[in-house]
């Protein structure tokens, strides 16, 4: 009995160790390519451990970092500021919806619910945002269209609803305004759910690349992820990063001289690394966000 138990235990853990390698090895591959020399990539291809260790990819990235700095600033600003704005807008409406004595509750719920199951589609949104609102090539495009989401409002409302109503009641008796009740009583009690929703929004914005793809042509306004996508897809972009190259050399030569492969992957590490280290620490919030979201609205 004892022995059989341990055999199944070894099999079980063996399976999970192999399984988790499926998730770790791809990262190791990307890191390894970023530290490989261009010559060794030419010779043997991408390897799980650098066959010839080199920092040339990173050197090129840090020699001409303006684009990455721009993209970092745009991404960080829109992600943090946008998340904050969205949390303010959504907790206000969620608070109103959480109040059972709010006369327009039913109508407003339907009004928001409809946006959950039907949308006009990408094309009308694009036309309205660019032609009527002037959001094309405008940094506000990262912030405004993401200000609210029906799902997140439902999560917040459900949480607010379960807070003790007596608090609101007594504050009202003391003559407090609704905005005061929200900011002084409800918000301080709702930190866990605000953290959950905030992190969900933040992750989405940090990883946003489609907005730039559709609305932005000005290189100064690219998000990090979009910059990365262009670098992976287009050789010209890498050439633009090597402005210091002496003139008179053809584009093909420049491309040939640059450590293009390792540089691409070095950039991916520089761009994605920090958040990949930070986010897993907040894993429990993401998980709780999911389970809250799965509860019926």
């Amino acid at each position: 009995m004892e022995k059989r138990f341990s055999v199944s235990k070894i099999l079980l853990n063996g399976f999970f160790i192999l399984f988790s390698l499926c998730f770790l090895l791809p990262f190791l591959l990307v890191v390894s390519v970023s530290f490989s020399s261009e010559a060794s990539i030419e010779a043997v291809g991408y390897t799980l451990l650098p066959s010839e260790f080199s920092l040339e990819g990173y050197l090129y990235v840090f020699q001409n970092p303006q684009q990455i700095i721009d993209a970092y600033i745009v991404t960080a600003f829109t992600a943090f500021f946008g998340t904050l704005c969205a949390l303010v807008v959504m907790s206000m409406v969620a608070y109103s919806l959480s109040r059972r004595d709010f006369a327009y509750r039913g109508g407003l719920t339907l009004f928001i619910f409809i946006t959950m199951i039907f949308s006009g589609g990408l094309v009308p949104s694009y036309i309205i945002n660019t032609q009527y609102l002037g959001l094309g090539n405008n940094i506000l495009i990262y912030i405004l269209p993401g200000l609210a989401s029906a799902w997140h409002i439902v999560i917040l409302r459900t949480f607010f609803q379960d807070l003790p109503m007596e608090l609101v009641e007594s504050a009202k008796l003391d003559g407090a305004r609704e905005i005061t009740i929200l900011s002084r009583i409800i918000i301080p009690l709702s930190k866990p759910v605000l953290a959950t929703v905030g992190l969900l929004i933040l992750l989405g914005r940090w990883n946003d690349w489609n907005t730039s793809l559709i609305y932005i042509t000005n290189q100064k306004l690219y998000t990090l992820q979009y910059l990365l996508q262009r670098i992976l897809r287009e050789v010209e972009f890498i050439q633009a990063m090597a402005k210091e190259m002496p003139t008179g050399i053809s584009a093909a030569q420049i491309a040939g001289d640059l450590p293009t492969e390792s540089m691409r992957f070095a950039l991916a590490i520089v761009a994605a690394g920090p958040m990949l280290v930070v986010f897993p620490f907040f894993q429990k919030y993401f998980v709780s966000g999911l389970t809250v979201g799965a509860v019926k609205g």
Partner: protein, 319 residues
């Protein structure tokens, strides 16, 4: 429950019309708090819904949405008579159906296995590694897939070469892509799904298992009669949501992993990538028609699935 009843009694107002001035005076503060969101939904959700009339128009930039000429159902006709309609609808539906089935089966299986691991430390480690891809954008996953599949440098071809095989030009091999896309989709989302199912299994009353063990139930019987029935509710909810989105291809997956290679369109093009490409080429009328078709069918499917589930078991319905 008591709490809510008390609150309701103190707060319920004498019945008066929702539109009356008296109601407004009582509620204006809460309405004001809701205002930014109301304006947001009007501008960014309802205006595009109205703007969807361009699906019935011949759009030109100068006349705008309202000034453009009406063409009835011409845009829809054009789309449904083209070869693209069948291809992108089939791809979107089949891929999503595969994702729904496999994500659920693999997720539940992993959750059940994870439940058998008793060491807290190990569980934590397995969960954290599995969930890592969830924190990545599709761009980064695109890098990873490129590092594996690149025909000259990629790791996969090196492995094939090491076993004496001939390297394959993956970005020119249509037959491989259904598998590649399914694998990357599972790789990206399975951690979260597993953790969700695992959390649900953890919520089962332990005494049920103990009672079953005393009655002589083996592992498989415990799973069949206790664990799986308990998971039905969460599986149903997730499936309703997924069926509602069955007409929506994950743009990131289908755009970043196949790298927009034209040769692969027959097996990788879905409705969302088609709309994006069409819009970029200026086919406003047709793409907005496709978008409206997608949105409408999606809505019908959500309502239908929910109605069916409600009929079978009201507790599992979403709304």
């Amino acid at each position: 429950m008591m709490k809510k009843e008390v609150a309701k009694n103190t707060y319920s107002l004498p019945r008066s019309s929702v539109l009356s001035v008296r109601t407004f005076k009582k509620n204006w503060e809460l309405l004001l708090l809701a205002m930014p969101a109301i304006i947001y939904f009007i501008v960014f959700c309802y205006a595009p819904m109205g703007g969807a009339v361009i699906a019935f128009k011949y759009y030109n930039y100068i006349d705008g949405i309202f000034g453009s000429r009406w063409v009835g159902f011409d845009n829809f006709k054009y789309f449904f008579l083209s070869n693209d309609a069948w291809r992108i609808t089939r791809n979107t539906l089949l891929y999503n159906a595969a994702f729904i089935c496999l994500d659920t089966i693999v997720g539940v299986a992993l959750a059940l296995l994870l439940y058998e691991v008793k060491s807290r430390k190990c569980i934590k480690y397995y969960q954290t590694t599995m969930i890592l891809p969830h924190f990545l954008s599709w761009v980064i996953i695109g890098y990873i897939s490129y590092a594996l599949l690149n025909p000259s440098y990629g790791l996969l071809n090196q492995v094939i070469g090491a076993f004496g095989g001939e390297g394959i030009d993956w970005y020119a091999t249509q037959g491989a892509w259904p598998f590649i896309l399914v694998i990357f989709q599972i790789w990206q989302c399975i951690g979260l799904k597993t953790i969700m199912f695992y959390a649900s299994v953890m919520g089962i009353d332990q005494s049920l298992f103990e009672a079953a063990k005393i009655d002589g139930a083996n592992k498989w019987q415990q799973i069949k009669y206790i664990t799986l029935p308990h998971l039905v509710s969460i599986i149903t909810i997730l499936t309703i949501l997924a069926i509602g989105g069955i007409f929506r291809g994950d743009f990131g997956l289908f755009y970043q992993i196949p790298r927009d290679v034209g040769l692969l369109y027959p097996v990788t093009d879905v409705i969302d990538t088609y709309i994006y490409r069409g819009m970029k080429n200026g086919d406003i009328g047709v793409t907005s028609a496709v978008g409206l078709f997608q949105s409408f069918v999606g809505m019908v499917l959500v309502l239908l699935t929910n109605a069916v589930v409600k009929k079978i078991n009201p507790d599992h319905a979403l709304f």
